[in-house]
């Protein structure tokens, strides 16, 4: 497979920037989000939250609150099923520990749910919250995750029901380690070694739409949940586990997720209310709840040791980490493993590699899935350490990283060793254009000219720096993730494409329609998409793990190919030709001798007059591999020498994501990920008070990049074709978040010779470091 050349298939719909199928509705502000659905007679659900980081509810009295007119019901831990589960929306069985209850007698972070109130209006619900009398027995709390495993640290999960956690008695949610060869021995043989520790923060998703869900019984008594989720099918399964009821989960349009909606926060609250009262219930989180009581990125610390020979050969990599999963273990093991599994194979030529560490509980907001899923954390340490090594060796960092990175036809033992919370699968890389990304990207960026420039301009009190970072990701979780697609042919010449895949703003409905339209020789406007309704569409794992284009895309392609066969077969009967003499062209079946029947004519005949049947097919797809996309990022920054303020001037991403199904949408995925990565690198910092309350709970105090904060972003795509992908595509949505952190840190070093090893990099800290080192 080595050296496979780019195959230029002739395509009509794929690789064109058609407009999003939901774009027009969204741009006109149509009522398409969870909060926009008015279900008559709905109760408003509000949550009483813990003001303490760690406490036992010694008494809870809802009597006065119940008495308010308009309060329908109040639940405490005594009133909801005591079923242990994980809020992580993952495949089954989940690799996350079961350590959560809808409500518990113990609260484990400031914001943990204490009681559920349902009332006729929001005002009444809020008044009731204030009248619930709770007495807490305060417990010492673990607020600093680096001390979670200390001797005598308070035990956060002492419930008897917990399962799947590694050592909860010592606050260890998960532990993992792997090795290939002996890193200590190999590092001893190295001419140069870097041994440093790096930190990444508990970034918030800060999607614009807060979490929210609505539940009701439909006229036939079917429990229905409309929810802003990335995982409707997992949500249905988990709700069944908790309440023992079957339900239908509908995902409407989603106002951003980025992994934050790959968990169940709101759904159990509304379902509990609807089951008890029989009435519709709606719960829409405030921004403060979304910020303080959902999920963040796992904050991590990595000690990184890397060693190389004088000739620039990288010899060993050792990543040893500590990850903070907060109060509950959503995605604890899998995010941590991805810090290794989606970074280490990039440098596959090393003689030894080791990865491991602990994921610990603390009394902070639970961490969960967040775009990049551990890779940004791991790559900040690894790429920065490699940059440090290259600088020490006086080798150009591009040259050093490129020389040691993976190529087509190669593999890495890490693929087999590290999977989704378990063993992975072997994989030979069939598409990897990292060399083009690095070489062409450097040219476009002007790297070799720029690095000749002086960096520090004392007269104008500014410094400029240039940084580069490399990354890989995956496409799906192989042998786990499944996607299904159904295609139904209509007599008006359209098709219904029914998919479980979950478009959360990414444009997946559109690109999946493009894939189907390409196969069926039709156009996207003829492909009517319905997605993510557990009663109407086939199963799909949901939107995560960079899997939708690849897994759901392959499922759609398979279904479309099957539909094509069915169409040819039916047309052959009508036209009295062998299917071998027929082909599809422009919404018609055409035969070699010029006979032709339109799709519309064909299905109309099949409905009413000839071999009557509905043409409909369903196909499923599970991948055996997870072809990584690759990325080389270049950044120019400017530092104000009087304040330490860091400004990103230009950011260039040169990416190999295979064929882009929709270039504009693909570019948007990369640009958006870069902006979030710049936020993580420079701005987004959560501050807790001494009692563990997150004080950065809105957009004033928690700074996400605004317009003008991020310089200009340029995105280029390498010419690449992944043979196993639908029309050559790989994933594109996550990888862009992996590089801004290291690229900016490397650029700061390039500018002023100061290594910043903790994100976000704060201006004041850089200022004092520059002062200490005599740069200014």
């Amino acid at each position: 497979m080595s050296g496979k050349v780019f195959t230029e298939e002739k395509m009509n719909v794929v690789n064109t920037s058609v407009e999003k199928v939901d774009g027009k509705a969204l741009i006109q502000g149509k009522p398409v989000f969870t909060d926009d659905f008015d279900i008559p007679n709905s109760l408003i659900v509000k949550i009483l939250r813990s003001p303490h980081a760690h406490a036992i509810i010694s008494s809870i009295d809802t009597t006065s609150a119940q008495k308010i007119e308009g309060v329908a019901c109040i639940f405490t831990y005594k009133d909801v099923p005591r079923i242990v589960y994980t809020r992580a929306g993952q495949g089954y069985p989940e690799p996350s520990p079961y350590d959560t209850f809808v409500l518990d007698r113990k609260v484990r972070y400031v914001g943990d749910a204490v009681a559920i109130v349902a009332a006729e209006t929001e005002q009444i619900a809020e008044a009731a919250l204030k009248l619930i009398k709770v007495e807490y027995e305060l417990l010492p709390a673990v607020l600093d995750y680096e001390h979670a495993m200390d001797d005598g640290a308070p035990i956060i999960h002492d419930e008897s029901e917990i399962s799947g956690a590694y050592d909860p008695r010592h606050n260890i949610a998960e532990h993992y380690e792997m090795k290939v060869g002996n890193v200590d021995e190999e590092l001893k043989k190295c001419d140069f070694v870097v041994d440093q520790t790096y930190y990444t923060p508990n970034q918030s998703h800060a999607m614009m739409e807060p979490h929210g869900a609505i539940s009701y019984f439909d006229p036939n008594g079917r429990l229905t949940v409309i929810t802003s989720t990335q995982v409707p099918f997992h949500a249905r399964r988990i709700l069944k586990r908790i309440f023992g009821v079957n339900c239908r989960v509908i995902k409407p349009r989603i106002g951003g997720g980025f992994g934050g909606k790959q968990a169940l926060f709101v759904e159990p609250y509304v379902v509990a209310v609807t089951l008890k009262t029989g009435r519709p219930a709606r719960c829409i989180y405030t921004r403060e709840e979304t910020m303080t009581a959902s999920n963040t990125r796992h904050a991590m610390r990595f000690r990184v040791r890397v060693g190389a020979m004088r000739d620039g050969t990288l010899r060993a990599i050792d990543l040893w980490g500590l990850s903070n999963t907060g109060a509950y273990g959503e995605h604890a093991l899998t995010v941590f493993m991805v810090s290794g599994s989606k970074t280490l194979p990039l440098y596959n030529k090393v003689k030894a590699v080791r990865f491991g560490g602990d994921v610990v509980y603390s009394n902070t907001e639970p961490a969960g899935a967040f775009r990049g899923y551990g890779a940004p954390q791991g790559m900040f340490g690894l790429d920065t350490a490699l940059d440090e090594l290259a600088r020490e060796m006086k080798i150009d960092p591009i040259e050093f990283k490129l020389k040691n990175s993976i190529r087509e036809g190669e593999t890495s033992p890490v693929f087999k060793i590290m999977g989704e919370g378990r063993e992975g699968v072997d994989e030979i890389i069939e598409s990897c254009k990292i060399e083009e990304c690095a070489v062409e990207g450097a040219k476009l960026f002007g790297w070799y000219e720029k690095i000749k420039r002086p960096r520090i301009d004392l007269k104008n009190r500014v410094a400029h720096g240039y940084g580069v970072a490399f990354a890989m990701q995956g496409s799906s979780i192989p042998m786990v993730d499944m996607g299904g697609a159904t295609i139904k042919m209509n007599d008006d010449g359209t098709f219904n494409l029914l998919i479980g895949a979950t478009d959360l703003g990414t444009g997946s409905d559109t690109i999946l329609a493009q894939i189907a339209a390409e196969v069926l020789h039709t156009t996207v406007d003829k492909m009517i998409v319905y997605s993510s309704d557990t009663d109407m569409t086939p199963f799909d794992k949901g939107a995560y793990a960079s899997s939708t284009t690849y897994v759901s895309g392959n499922a759609v392609k398979k279904a479309a190919e099957k539909m094509k066969e069915e169409i040819l077969k039916a047309a052959a009967e009508v036209l009295m030709k062998s299917p071998n003499y027929l082909y599809l062209e422009d919404n018609c079946v055409v035969s070699g001798d010029g006979k032709k029947i339109t799709f519309s004519e064909l299905q109309t005949k099949l409905f009413y007059t000839f071999n009557q049947r509905q043409l409909q097919v369903t196909e499923s797809f599970v991948s055996e591999v997870a072809p990584p996309p690759y990325l080389v990022s270049f950044v120019e920054i400017e530092i104000d020498l009087d304040t330490g303020k860091i400004r990103v001037i230009d950011f260039l991403d040169y990416i190999d994501c295979g064929v882009t199904i929709n270039p504009i949408l693909a570019r948007g995925q990369v640009e958006g990920a870069v902006a979030q990565g710049i936020g993580m690198a420079l701005f987004e910092d959560h501050i807790m008070d001494k009692n563990g309350r997150m004080v950065t709970n809105d957009f004033f105090t928690y700074k996400i990049p605004a317009r003008g904060d991020i310089g200009s972003i340029d995105v280029r795509f390498a010419k690449s074709y992944e043979p196993s992908g639908p029309f050559g595509a790989k994933s594109v949505s996550e990888i862009g978040l992996d590089t801004p952190g290291p690229a900016i840190a490397n650029a700061i070093f390039d500018a002023v010779g100061v290594r910043m090893r903790r994100l976000p990099i704060k201006s004041e800290e850089l200022f004092f470091e520059m002062k200490k080192r005599g740069v200014i």
Binding site: I27, Q28, A206, M208, R707, G708, I713
Partner: protein, 154 residues
Amino acid sequence: MKVELTVNDKKFSVEIEPGEMLLETLRKLGYKSVKHACSTASCGACTVQLDGKAVLSCTTFTAAADGHEIKTVEAFSENGKLSPIQQAILEEGGSQCGFCIPGLVVTAENLLDENPDPTKEEILDNLKGNLCRCTGYESQTRAILKAAKERREK
């Protein structure tokens, strides 16, 4: 109390609660394009035009809008025909999840009314109160520059 509002040229006489914010009133009237995203005047997703000026409806008292004209995003696409700004956002990929888009469109329409030929810097500065977590802003800036050009040439 009762207030008289004109929303997208339609007159309403509405009973409101004391302290009610325009965001709540508009959503109650069915204008769901006006979004609850922060409710603290920090994100711009609830932006509407009050007498032609972009304001944040989450922190504007409905009582203060008594007798005034309000425009929501629905006003800019008559019979499903998108405005040049909307069309450009769609073409440039400036709308991903779409949640911030109504507020952005309303603000950008206001900008181009006042400044038909803005520079990139003026766009970034004028719209900095409209947060977007999906796009990284690049595509939206491209779209507004393109729409401004089209509006001028019209």
